[in-house]
Amino acid sequence: MLIRRAEAIRTSEITPPELVLRRRELLRGAGFALAGAALAPTLACGAEGEAPPAAPADANPFRTDEEPTAFEDATRYNNFYEFGTDKGDPRRYAGSLRTRPWSVAISGEVAKPGSIDLDDLLRPHTPEERIYRLRCVEAWSMVIPWLGIPLGAILERFEPTSQARFVAFQTLHDPEQMPGQRSRVLDWPYVEGLRIDEAMHPLTILATGMYGRELPNQNGAPLRLVVPWKYGFKSIKSIVEIRLSRSQPATSWNRQAPHEYGFLANVNPDVDHPRWSQKRERRIGELRKRPTLPFNGYAEQVAQLYAGIDLRKHF
């Protein structure tokens, strides 16, 4: 069912590589504000002539004006089961992770597959600061200033074929370095996936840092995905493998509990998780809860990716 839906994505809907490249030049040359403004029409025109949605949540979707979460909180309250299931475990145990040397294998539907050293992978790019909301499926949220590179810009270098419809990601699997993997709470290694249009979306980044410094190990060093309109579990950490595929890849939480976690996992206040209402969230550092926004406040940028899809069914 999901696969058929993916086939319905016309090639014309996928952001063409020229555009991605042009955007990169724009970003370099003109700064974020201008780039954001220039991008808005490009993003909106995907939705077959529909009127643009109501007022945007952010003046610049790449940098929310909301107060960033305290660095201390963002680095001591983490879901990273590779280091234990308690939210304090990642900080306690992630010191054993060696983040250099680190290589990433890129395979599947690409013209230039191969394994590449992380530093070589990152060298041609300049990390950009993105201040994004992060919404966990457990109904809490943070605001994180990431440093990262648009995933699309990286994927383009490996020349995805026209058959590439999905992107699958895999976390390092090494119980020596990741002690949480010694217990079988999840089916290791952790895997995640995106549709190709989601992967190519300008909001989607591979992060290498946050708060102006290198990624702390407990936050997914040395390379993690950040997809701000999806629940946090989609943003896979400590990536060692990226595979482009024709069919929808398996994803860890979906495999664990298919009726609780879907493949799309877009932030959606109207679809409750069996254990948590998704209508509201607690921003870390605040006592009162705030309403959760559709697509985590990025509806204007991404809603058109899901035109015609029943998001109650495909949660």
């Binding site: 305290a70 001591r76 299931t85 939210k87 254990r275 607690r282 870390i284």
Partner: protein, 214 residues
């Protein structure tokens, strides 16, 4: 030590142990020990101790009967009431800091989410037990007191189920409590069967129950 003094010392010890988690929570609150999500942390800590003291209260009778430690008996009520105090704190935090006393949201939560329902029902089971835990009530209710206080088995089972249903993937801790509860309930069943095989009623009758909840 006279039996009375020993009983008093034991009570004092139990009450001391019962206040320790509260004291450590208060100390943590004064510093920065409640972490990034204090409401979640305090909810988990109070819920965890409610369950642990409830299981401790249920352990009194099997220990007393297995080892003949009759002096343990008064602890059953004390531990049960400590469990109830933590359950009250847990419940009040849920009502006040999770839902800010929004009764519509709370009702929806109880009806829609099975782990909330299990926890809510467990708490409801504990209320009449705490209310009838005084000596006067024990005397007034007589045999009905014994029947009423069997509710504690339901409360403990529901509390364990509540924990099992609320975790995402790591069932190790809730299953540990489930095993402990199975052991404690199994011991009761064993005593009952062993008692009836010898042609006399189970010893776990009204006499030993007079001293408290559990």
């Amino acid at each position: 030590m006279t039996p009375t003094r020993r009983a008093r010392a034991l009570q004092a010890l139990a009450i001391g142990a019962g206040t320790l988690p509260l004291v450590s929570l208060c100390a943590a609150a004064l510093g920065d020990g409640l972490g990034a999500n204090p409401v979640e942390y305090v909810t988990h800590v109070t819920g965890g101790w409610a369950l642990r003291f409830l299981l401790a209260s249920l352990a009194v009778t099997p220990l007393r009967r297995t080892f003949g430690w009759s002096w343990l008996a008064p602890l059953r009520r004390t531990l049960g009431l400590i469990a109830f105090a933590y359950a009250c704190a847990h419940y009040l935090i849920y009502l006040g800091l999770e839902h800010f006393f929004d009764w519509r949201l709370i009702a929806e939560d109880v009806l829609k989410r099975r782990y909330v329902w299990a926890g809510f029902t467990a708490f409801c089971c504990l209320v009449p037990l705490a209310a009838t835990s005084t000596r006067a009530m024990v005397r007034r209710l007589g045999r009905r007191w014994v029947a009423l206080h069997r509710l504690v088995y339901a409360a403990a089972a529901l509390a364990v189920i509540h924990f099992c249903w609320l975790v995402k993937a790591d069932l190790r801790e809730p299953l540990l409590y489930a095993a402990l509860l199975a052991l404690l309930l199994g011991a009761r069943l064993w005593f009952r069967l062993a008692g009836s095989r010898r042609g006399r009623p189970a010893r776990d009758g009204a006499q030993s129950r007079l001293s408290g909840i559990g």
